[in-house]
Symmetry: C5
Subunit: 370 residues, 5 copies
């Protein structure tokens, strides 16, 4: 049990951040489409990387300049431009202009408090997603916003910081025989979203383990520190719910929409992705039900314990208070108390007191308090 | 009541498994359609069996090789290939390729954490179901995934382990005059799903019995161990709800879809199956309402009992504490306490004390605490 | 108030049956359409009765044979065949075959655990309903299943036992000038369903009276036995809700469907029937809200009472424990306690104690506990 | 605060009527359309009044005979026949026949327990509404049913008793220049419904005031009598909700329906009426949320108070019980207790006791109970 | 922590106003469209201001007369007439007649208790919104109604008092190169609504800060004053929810409607606005969940604390009450108590008492109360 305690103290001593609930507060009166970065700066220098491929060739460049990014598109090839670090609005704007991204879409990309959404625009489609990762230090789920622009022969991705969630996709691109090389940017976009949704399962697995642990500990008896823990998980799951919920609609929209950017053959994969989203949502809902079940269990246990404490108190008091009263009687100093002079008075009083105590015990037995 | 206790201790001493809530955790970055078995290996050796029939003939083979399975389809006959044990991905893949099953469908079949679903593909239709059975040892409901591929003249079923839920269907196939022999693979698929849904009623019957028992015991008075029991059933019903809920949509989809694989004459049976699903769901909902009713009852009973305990304590303390005080007064050693020298002082004090006690009792009577 | 108590004890001493929640448990593996009676046998001998009428004539026969029932249809007349007692599957099957009822419909008729539903089949339409009646002995609502087959010139009704709910309809049939004689079997079916729905209002009236009584008693103060009563009504209303809910959809389906069996002129009556169903549902919902309001009231009252008990205990203890302590001080046997030798020591101590007690009383007054 | 108390005692001493929840209980087996008055008789003699108008003339007659009412329709004029007192079914039936009202509609008009509804019939349209008024005596909301028949050139209204809610409309009719005189019976019907909905705002205002008062009083501290008050308002709002809810659908139906009885120019007013209904519903919902918030607040306050009581008890007991024990020790009569003979023994004991008491106080201070 | 206390006391000492819930109570019987100002008069003198612009010119006039406003429309220019102070119904009516606003719309504009709505009329479109601002003094959110009339070449806005929320839009209009000058009145209306929705984020940020603070303080231990605070925020969020909810539908209607007044190019901005509304609603929902989570936490903490208090009381009482009893025994004055004469009797009694106390302590240790 010691390690449970360890975990518990661990996260209770951490300040619980409200970051997910932070609210966009751009200055009132700014025109729509004004490009302002909302959120924390998470990396020092924005880094642009490019992967350009077709079935036969793959071209992979890291830390390129804006100009190289601008000239990246090639006939018949798919270009994937990834930007890590979006606090420099100029870089985002430059990329946006090169690929004809609507100013309102750029505004959304820069606002890292945005909720997940899909928006089809004239030239391309904007997808905003939340990447989740588990912060071991604060035992909390943290989020990072990932935006994606899907065009006719390119995919742009915007991350808040350098990450490794897309490494799997990069690996599959490098293997020349993969299905991913035979298909267009829509399949690439699908693969990227899929890798994000897949990572959710890791978070859920972790949360599931924690809940199972918590339940196990609770079965042994309630402990005030569990309260904080339950509250913590409740909030984590509330966050998770709010992050995952719009995702379902987003994927369903992508899957159902008659967009010319999404090939018919990709739809079956989107349907599969949709199933995964449903499963994530389902699991989050189960976890929420479980946490509220744990809370009920905790409250009932506390209630039980109080009951037990009261029983002990009542039994002790009910037995000894009358006895003490009897002892008090014969401690009185009246000049004439006949019993005091009896030869067996003392022993008679003991008999009476023992009988009284047994009577009380019987009474409690009958009430099933013993 | 002893047997209730027995049951209760029985399941409380068991570790309550979270298996249904386990979350698929395939490695991030794997391409979609990669075939990996997710879940426990429940049987040693995958066993393939085949039943091939038309109106006049029936051919029944157990433990056949992959090659035999591959060559099983015959013009004008219905082939039912059943695989027990899906941990060997190679076998599943081989069968899948023979019957032109889409790789994504195979991935779903291998992932035993999948939620029930129906997916119509180009060549055939995938149905994923949960078979439920009641584990007497842990007093819990366990699930096993059953997948089904419905094709133009074949049905493939994939079970995690050798089971007997389909024995009824096998029996009806062997009787030559049954309706099932006159119809195609769609009716066979219906019969198989129907036998799974039918088995749910057994589970519900068991759960209903348990709840009735629990309610009966609770009427006699609350008991802390009931708390765990209520929590246990709540979770079992949550599991059940989550397993059965997608089933309804699945059957409704099968029933409404204009699939060429499902004959018009089979639809009336699917409608009947749909009714059964609704009834299962309804019953689960009733049980959930009942359990939460029991929880309310438990909490109120605990509250009542606390009330009663407090009443006893208060009555005992309120009567004897003042009396003890009076006795204490005349136990003081002051040199001049006039009452001590009175002839009838001692008896007067007794009178006063008895009057006081009666007064308190009257007070409690008036407050209806007695 | 004595009669409330009487009622209360009355139903609390009864075992509360779970009959409505019983779950169909036909043997797994039976083919669909297999005719098995599920439920209790409620009558000894199935009795068939026939009423055949047109505008000018009425023919009324009781306890007829199967053959007579089979030959009952006559050109231009409406035949109403009623079967009381459905445990003899052979009789049901025979009637079913005569009137071309689908085997699945017969299976549903025999399963008395079925939920209300309407199913339009090729030849005729199946309606399954629950008749409710209030069992005075157990203070519970009991249900009986009534099934109906509406054909082109006949109505079949299947009851579990001989009842009198249809007597009103029989009476109206016998009066030659009634609207019912001028119309077809659809109007007869409507009249029968209407008489069942009408009977629901009686149940609701009874439940409403009980709730009003319960509320009145509760206003006087909480009583542990109310808990069981509240729980009882909660379950009764849960049952009622589950029985009535499908009814609404059923009637709405009947009303909206473009069935050739239902004449246009009957629809206005079905609309009226639908209104009644809504009103029943509404009332059940109100009652459920009322019961949960009563539960809240009960819990709050218990909380209040506990509060009051605690206050009495605290006041008594807080006043007398310090006083007893002072008395104890001067009961000590030290050789040198100066106060003991003072002339007015005893009276001074009394003064101190009275002042202390008054101080405590003032303190409690200020806290508004007195 | 005294006036709050007054109000509170006022309504608590009243029997709380369940009238709104009364359930129609017409005799089972009566044919549909049978005219029976359900509800209380609220007036002695039914009174018929007639207002007939066109743009240029207005004819106003009170307490006319049935024959006069029958002959009231005139080409090109709008006739508004109002009947106050509907317990005399013969009068209602006579009016119904004159204006070709469907028997089922008359049945609904006579059943004062009916829920609000709109029903378009062949000749005319039936509207059933609830008029609400606040009964100062029982501090409760009472309802009265108002039914309306809208025909091609007439409006019939049926009230349970003589009322003044329509006086405003009568006034506007008498002013010759009003919009109402230029328009048909549909606008008159709208004006009548509007005046009923308007009156709801008065009720809501009153309820809002009461809730604000209750909240204010509660902020000062919980009081058991508030419990009854909260329960009372909860039920009042439940009633209100159930009365207003169907109204919304009713007006929306009237507004959307393509009825020839409703002129296009009237629709914009109906849309406005619909907005008012939404606002009433919204306010009721807010009030319900507020009441349940008050209930939470009450329960938490009670919990807090109990906490405080316990703290006082615990502090008193924990300080004095050990001290009394010490005093008891030296009250023992052993022949050899060395301390008793010490010169400063008595004072040493005082020191020990004071130190112990201070220690306890410090302990409670540290626990922040003081 | 002192500043939390400060804030807390601050708002608890304020009377919490119910203004948002005030209910329109125009006099019953007034004809629809009668112009009455409902609400508080918030400014002394209504002020009309006008901004008229096209791409090349901008004309800005403050405090103009009604006549000037009437003649403000010019071919090819957009006129924005703003009225601050709507209590003078004559002014509102005059403006309304000039711009052909429907009387029902004017009635809605004057009723400041109206819920947000959009209504498309023949000549123009009415939009009613709530502007929110945070009142530092009462720590409450206050609302002001802003109405808007969108016409073919004009926008009318009606505010309750002079405000600065539109200053940003005015500023953008004055910059000649802004997008806003190139577009019509629909874009102006969008910009105005957008600036109101943007201001909501400020409110939410403030509420979020408060909740985070409250949570932090609560983690340190429960405090009765938090109860009021939680209740306060619950009501504030209820208000917020009710104000924001209709906004979503309003914007969605504006966005989807095929109104000729809204240009196709403006729709993408409305879609963006819709996203913002969803985000506001989402955040309000999260906050509501958080507050109810805090309430649960508070109640559980109180429960825990009570538990702890009871434990201390029980331990103290259970140890000392039996000891006091023993002391009482040997304080009795019986003539013959053999133990009193023993040489080591006193010390033996001490041994027994210490052993008893240790036994109790062990018992409590085993129960894990220590």
């Amino acid at each position: 049990m010691s390690d449970h305690r360890f975990i518990k103290l661990d996260f209770l001593s951490q300040p619980i951040s409200l970051s997910l609930f932070q609210v966009k507060a751009k200055q009132v009166g700014l025109p729509p489409g004004a490009l302002i970065h909302v959120g924390q700066q998470k990396t020092e220098q924005p880094i642009i990387s490019l992967i350009r491929y077709d079935l036969s060739s793959l071209d992979c460049q890291t830390d390129i300049s804006l100009e190289q990014a601008a000239g990246s598109r090639q006939e018949g090839k798919v270009s994937w431009v990834n930007l890590s670090g979006i606090h420099d609005t100029a870089v985002v704007e430059a990329i946006g202009q090169t690929f004809e991204v609507h100013p309102l879409a750029l505004e959304d990309i820069l606002n890292t408090q945005h909720r997940p959404k899909l928006e089809e625009m004239q030239e391309n489609t904007l997808v905003i997603l939340k990447m989740l990762f588990f912060d071991q230090d604060s035992q909390s789920i943290r989020t990072e916003q990932v935006s994606m622009i899907l065009g006719v022969d390119y995919v742009l991705t915007f991350q808040e910081q350098e990450g490794d969630v897309f490494d799997g996709v990069r690996g599959r691109l490098q293997r020349s025989n993969g299905r991913i090389r035979q298909r267009g940017p829509d399949y690439l976009a699908y693969a990227l979203i899929d890798s994000i949704v897949d990572s959710y399962f890791h978070i859920l697995e972790k949360v599931g383990d924690h809940l199972a642990q918590l339940e196990e500990v609770m079965m042994e008896g309630p402990d005030p520190s569990m309260l904080g823990r339950i509250h913590h998980y409740k909030r984590q799951l509330l966050m998770l719910h709010r992050s995952v919920w719009p995702l379902r609609d987003l994927v369903s929209e992508l899957y159902k929409e008659e967009s010319p950017l999404v090939a018919e053959s990709t739809r079956v994969y989107l349907r599969d992705l949709y199933d995964h989203c449903i499963q994530v949502l389902d699991t989050v809902e189960i976890f929420r039900d479980m946490v509220s079940g744990l809370q009920d269990l905790y409250l009932s246990s506390v209630s039980n314990r109080m009951n037990e404490i009261m029983k002990v108190l009542t039994i002790m008091a009910s037995i000894f208070i009358p006895l003490t009263f009897i002892a008090g009687i014969y401690g009185m100093n009246f000049e004439y108390i006949p019993e005091l002079r009896w030869r067996w008075g003392y022993f008679a009083v003991w008999l009476v007191m023992i009988a009284g105590a047994l009577g009380m015990l019987l009474f409690f037995k009958r009430k099933r308090w013993l």
